[in-house]
Amino acid sequence: MLLEITDLSKNFGATEVLQHVNLQVADGEFVAILGPSGSGKSTLFQLIGGIITPTAGEILLNGKAISGEKGHISYMPQQASLFPWRTVLQNVVLAQEIQSKANYTQAEDWLERVGLAQFKEAYPIELSGGMKQRVAFIRALLSEQNLLCLDEPFSALDEFTRLDMQNWLLSVWEAHPRSVLFITHSIEEAIYLADRIIILSKRPAHIKEEIKVPFARPRHPAMLATAEFIALKQHIFAQMETRKTND
């Protein structure tokens, strides 16, 4: 197992945010964490990223405890968070710079491969929202850590751009698999992208269900219209609904 989280809980003062969360990510696996807004998904990432410490429980990466330690994961936030005074090329090497040393040759290679080469000297202000997210994703890919943590990377984009981005992400990821932990509040996005879906309840968040996604790769947009896809979507929807009426 690459990432193993056991019995993780987090309180902010009297507010319980996470309750006894258990989850694993295997090498090369794409795991989606699905939960309503405010359920504690980003908090989970902050715990894995080590910028806050758990109230209880353990986080192991490659068998090593990493609670409270920073710098073990690659990260992509919801807001692209590109530095406005850096060009695209200078931006994508930023995470590398923090870890060790910028590798511009590798960075240019990647920009070429994912069709961003013509933007490498552009500043973020010149890019569309979707382009910015692509750059942010490549920046995360270029840093050397094994686990890629994506926090709702497409939720600030419009519907059309988002579909585009999902397909782009899949094409890049399928060609260069990495272990991914992907936070989203969109059921379709979770099914379309992930190998496995972990459904979080409303706050205080605990794991409601874990679903192995039965669709083969590579995935195609045609999949979104199949009866199987719709059935799974309805199942997850019902899961999240029951929780609501239980409250």
Partner: protein, 251 residues
């Protein structure tokens, strides 16, 4: 294009102002020793330019030196106070107080303490121009975009990296706002310091002009001060354009 139009607007407005001034002076027959016409001022400036240029040069040198020192001091103070919040709480009020002492009052004191040399003049200029830089720079550092800070934390940046790669570049536009204000102040500071004893400088020229009731020359000096301020402002704007990248450019 838009910018050019705006600048053009300012020039036209200034010209109209001058024409009205000129007209009023001729029409009401205002005597030269009370208010000279713009044409008379320009003529005097042209006539005495040879003698006057020495003074302009001296003031320019003094201003640049004082601004550089004052700006560096302001920059360093801002960095120190930003890194040491406790000291900031003690020192910041004192910095504000330092700005409440009128330069005109302080200048003679500095002359008494430090003589007529370069030192008291540089102290005066530094005093008037370090403060806008401290304030602007500290605001810039403090207001660093929290989402970018959070990102830096999540990827494991330490305090030094966060400062050099994020906070400092983020504060550059603020630093330049402070510098533009400081530059304007520094010319005033230089002229005031020259009033109190110097061999050369616009301030000296102004004192002579005043004591001999050459109001036209006083105005020549005033125009020179304005032109010098504008030139400094433009210089800083130019440097800003070269250094600050990827920002929307305001006018």
């Amino acid at each position: 294009m838009h910018n050019v139009m705006k600048r053009g607007g300012a020039v036209v407005f200034l010209l109209v102002l001058f024409i009205i001034w000129e007209a009023v002076v001729w029409w009401r027959d205002i005597p030269m020793w009370l208010l000279p016409a713009p044409s008379a001022i320009i003529a005097e400036g042209y006539r005495s330019f040879g003698d006057f240029s020495v003074h302009i040069l001296a003031t320019t040198k003094l201003t640049l030196l004082g601004l550089t020192i004052g700006a560096s001091i302001g920059f360093i103070i801002a960095l120190l106070l930003h890194r040491m919040p406790l000291i900031n709480q003690m020192v910041y009020p004192l910095l504000i107080l330092s700005q409440n002492v009128p330069t005109i009052v302080l200048a003679p004191l500095l002359i008494i303490w430090f003589g007529f040399g370069l030192l008291p003049k540089l102290i005066i200029i530094s005093l008037v121009c370090f403060f806008p830089i401290v304030v602007a720079m500290m605001d810039g550092l403090k207001n660093t975009d929290p989402t970018l800070k959070h990102y830096m934390q999540m990827i494991g940046a330490n305090r030094g990296q966060t400062f050099w790669k994020l906070e400092l570049p983020y504060a550059m536009p603020s630093l330049f706002s402070g510098l533009k204000i400081a530059a304007t102040y520094s010319v005033m500071g230089a002229v005031i310091s020259e009033w109190l004893g110097a061999k050369q400088g616009i301030g000296v020229y102004m004192t002579y002009a005043q004591s001999s009731f050459r109001i036209d020359r006083v105005f020549v000096a005033i125009f020179a001060i304005m032109l010098l301020s504008m030139a400094l402002f433009a210089l800083i704007q130019l440097i800003e354009r070269m250094i600050v990248k990827g920002q929307t450019r305001e006018v």
